[in-house]
Amino acid sequence: MIRALAVMLAFACAEPAGAQTLAITGGRIVTMGPAGEIERGTLLISDGRIVAVGADVAVPQGAKVVDASGRIVTPGLVATGAALGLIEVRSVEATDDRGTAAEDFSAAFDAGYGLNPDSLLIPVARLGGITRAITTPVYKDMGGRERVFAGQAAAVVLDGRAMLMKRGVAMVLEMGDAGAGRAGGARGAQLVALRALLAEVRDYKTRRAAYDRGEARDYMLSRADMNALVPVVEGRMPLLVSVNRAADIRDALALAREEGLKLILESAGEGWRVADEIAAAGVPVLLTPVKNTPASFETLGATLSNAARLAAAGVTIAIEGNGNHREREMRYNAGNAAANGLDRQAALATITINPARIFGLAGRIGSLEVGKEGDAVIWDGDPLDTLARPLAVFIRGAAMPMTSRATELRDRYLPSALPPTNGEIR
């Protein structure tokens, strides 16, 4: 079965990407949309978009057919919390474009530039079923002026072609310990500084012409940073705030309420302790649910039940991977959340439709619905489990190669390690 599918896919790969009709037939289609699960369904993708999904879908003549009988079909997974396309080897600075120490670019730094679709990390993530990602900038702290914001996140596609889907999907900010550190050593200083900055952005917004004539007062941030923050103060671009301590989460919620900001919380190690307040504010949360150690004084209340408790309170959550090279573990993180109380269907939503919704991409990706872009994964078992793997990955209707540099290394050395006899190794 696996072999037959592989042959079919190799054939599919030879065709021009997305320029034809693909029919994935016979699988249990977990749409993550209003259609729910389709026991034995057909998914039709034409010119890169989903044109039909259901139990009684006729396969048009000439369509490329992939038999997924007995398999699970899900939407492609959407990764959050990593910077795919901006990093290669962590210790090699020239290959790390996740952050900047430039004087005048804090909010203005844009992760939608400098993306590298040839990154070795992309096929590795894709072999974990990940088809899209929110490439998220990180701080690059160096001596001297500490930047307030890490910059703007971008939505990207992982099919090896030009990566950018949408730039400016969120403005990234750290609060709590890290934010206090950058503001001179106290949480209070950061909260005051942020309010002052946002007031200046509003002021700048009404005096751009005067500012450019040199007739406005001096502002703390550069012109580029001010421009980048205008959509944030207007509530159009979400502010993605990494924060953990329950009290700090309350401070972030208050800041957003008072300043009219659209907020996304990230990490939220003690989120469960203020879950009702987060839910009442309608604020979504990105989190890594396996982070249950009291790694700092702001995560003393970390617990494996965080994801389940947030979801039970009505918070929309998305589950992150373990970062860049280890982003493929995202689905296992969702599985661990399920093992610790999160409904399994809800757990699958945290890595598909929920991140799409949180970043304003649900009209394009995140579920298998007519009109959306044709990202799908065929699995040989439960997508959340360590015991299952993707058999095939499609992005915009095109079959992705099921190889990476790592599998090429494996295949190069496999013959030299193989046992002399056949049979199970025990």
């Binding site: 696996i2 290669e88 080897v89 962590r90 210790s91 090699v92 070795l120 990390l121 329950a246 003690e270 469960w272 302790r273 396996v290 982070k291 249950n292 150690t293 009291p294 790694a295 700092s296 004084f297 995560t299 003393l300 209340g301 970390a302 617990t303 494996l304 039940s305 373990n322 860049n324 090279h325 280890r326 493929r328 573990e329 296992y332 599985g335 661990n336 399920a338 093992a339 610790n340 959340l384 489990d385 360590t386 015991l387 299952a388 793997r389 790592a406 599998t407 290394l409 494996r410 050395y413 496999l414 030299s416 390690a417 193989l418 046992p419 056949n422 049979g423 199970e424 190794i425 025990r426």
Partner: protein, 459 residues
């Protein structure tokens, strides 16, 4: 054949070491730093109906496992349960030996990770073989309990990899204790942490001193081994001379290196690249010692047969790669390929989160291997986190399998232990329950977390 000969030789050298009172053994001879761990009286227990992975390669469905006097008494399908045994219903569940992590920094890199708790690297000189990691361990580290909830019953705590010689490791039983001595695994040999590659050359090259290159690393090892061989010769000469005159002056650093030359202290070598592992094998050959384990070893799959022939274990991950140039070639199938070549494969954590999910990491490697055409079964894969780390740590005569006579370190899992859905329902250490997921008494926070916010739920 060769392996058997070597194992025999190793056992002999241990016996020899025990029979002598070398200068180096002063501390132990006086009872300093000895284990004070004494297991409580164990209730005779019968776990009935579970699928048991024995750690010897077998998978026994619907098995009965008898634990008595803190030891594994009997295992098999359809065994009669003697009277007076506490019955544990294992139907629908899985049983494995207690998990063993061959690479941990728990207690030495304690949570919260504040500078005051950073006690893993004595990064002031490239050779600090004189330090013992057990003198850094804070038993209150909340991660010990989390690892217990993840089924980990024994673990080796290692110094960090900043130095060529990082110091002595220590093996612990993962039992609650106020002191490090109360956790020490009775009779476990020490290890010596040796580090290859980027870390030492970065740390010391950055300070403008040697080693600044890989060749500097190797010169550093060889110089130290020359000193250790000389120290050993002087000691042996004094012993052979009927201990006439003053004994040679004791040197803490050379004590540990000489112990490694004698084979009493097991060499635990942090080394990523295949070419560097081959160099380290030659360094060991030059000075006549053995490397017990290569740790991290992302490129072990490239020299899997060599490592099997040399009988050197490989402790690695499935998922970690790419942080450094030396880890760029990490692949999911590393451990399975080592196993396929007949070697001793280990999945380790080196991490306070992963140590809670060793079964899942092994499951990822096993599943990836199966997909690649390597027929690795659960019976082999469970050895990567039980019997094989026990061998790497020199405690395989006591733990790591469910053979009669072994310590009753056992985990009852809610599901297939390689799956994300597996939770440790109950953990026995020396036959004593040390974790029960349904019993709040075992979820009490450590001293540090007591009275801190947000402790009302088990982690």
């Amino acid at each position: 054949m060769k392996i058997a000969e070597w194992l025999g030789g190793f056992a002999a050298s241990l016996t020899f070491a025990a029979a002598t009172t070398a200068v180096a053994a002063d501390a132990e001879a006086r009872g300093a730093f000895a284990s004070t761990y004494r297991p409580a009286a164990a209730t005779p227990t019968a776990i009935v109906g579970a699928t048991v992975l024995t750690g010897t390669g077998d998978e026994i469905p619907n098995a009965t496992l008898l634990l008595a006097n803190g030891k594994v008494e009997k295992i098999g399908a359809g065994l009669a349960v003697p009277g007076g045994y506490l019955l544990v219903d294992g139907r629908g569940k899985w049983v494995t030996p207690g998990l063993i992590d061959a690479h941990s920094h728990l207690g030495a890199a304690a949570s919260p990770a504040v500078p005051a708790h950073d006690d893993t690297n004595e990064a002031v000189a490239p050779n600090t073989a004189e330090v013992w990691i057990e003198h850094s361990i804070w038993p209150q580290d909340p991660k010990f309990r989390l690892a217990r909830a993840g089924g980990v019953t024994s673990l080796m705590i290692l110094p960090g990899s900043a130095n060529l010689f990082g110091g002595r490791s220590v093996t612990l039983k993962n039992v609650p204790s106020v002191t490090a001595q109360g956790m020490k695994f009775p009779g476990a040999p020490y290890g010596l942490k040796v580090a290859c590659g980027e870390n030492p050359k970065r740390v010391y090259g950055g300070k403008g001193r040697s080693p600044a290159t890989r060749m500097g690393n190797v010169a550093g090892y060889r110089k130290a081994w020359i000193d250790a061989a000389d120290y050993l010769r002087r000691q042996d000469k004094w012993e052979a001379g009927g201990r006439e005159g003053d004994p040679p002056k004791r040197d803490l650093q050379l004590d540990t290196l000489a112990g490694a030359l004698r084979g009493e202290i097991l060499v635990q070598n942090h080394c990523y690249r295949a070419d560097e592992m081959a160099i380290m094998i030659d360094v060991a050959r030059e000075f006549g010692f053995r490397i017990r384990t290569f740790h991290h070893a992302n490129e072990a799959f490239k020299i899997a047969r060599l490592l099997a022939k040399e009988d050197i274990c490989v402790a690695t991950w499935a998922n970690s790669w790419g942080a450094k140039m030396e880890s760029l070639d990490g692949i999911e199938e590393n451990a399975p390929m080592v196993a396929a070549a007949g070697g001793c494969a280990i999945i380790h954590s080196d991490d306070g989160l992963l140590i809670q999910r060793l079964g899942q990491e092994a499951g990822i490697a096993m599943t990836a291997a199966n997909r690649a055409g390597l027929p690795i079964g659960r019976g082999e894969a469970i050895k990567w986190i039980t019997a094989n780390p026990a061998k790497a740590m020199g405690i395989d005569d006591k733990v790591g399998t469910l053979e009669p006579g072994k310590m009753a370190d056992v985990v009852l899992w809610s599901a297939n232990p390689f799956s994300v859905y597996a939770l440790a329902d109950r953990v026995w250490i020396d036959g004593v329950v040390q974790w029960d997921r349904s019993d709040p008494r075992y979820q009490e926070p450590s001293d540090f977390l007591l009275g801190q916010p947000g402790q009302e739920f088990a982690r």
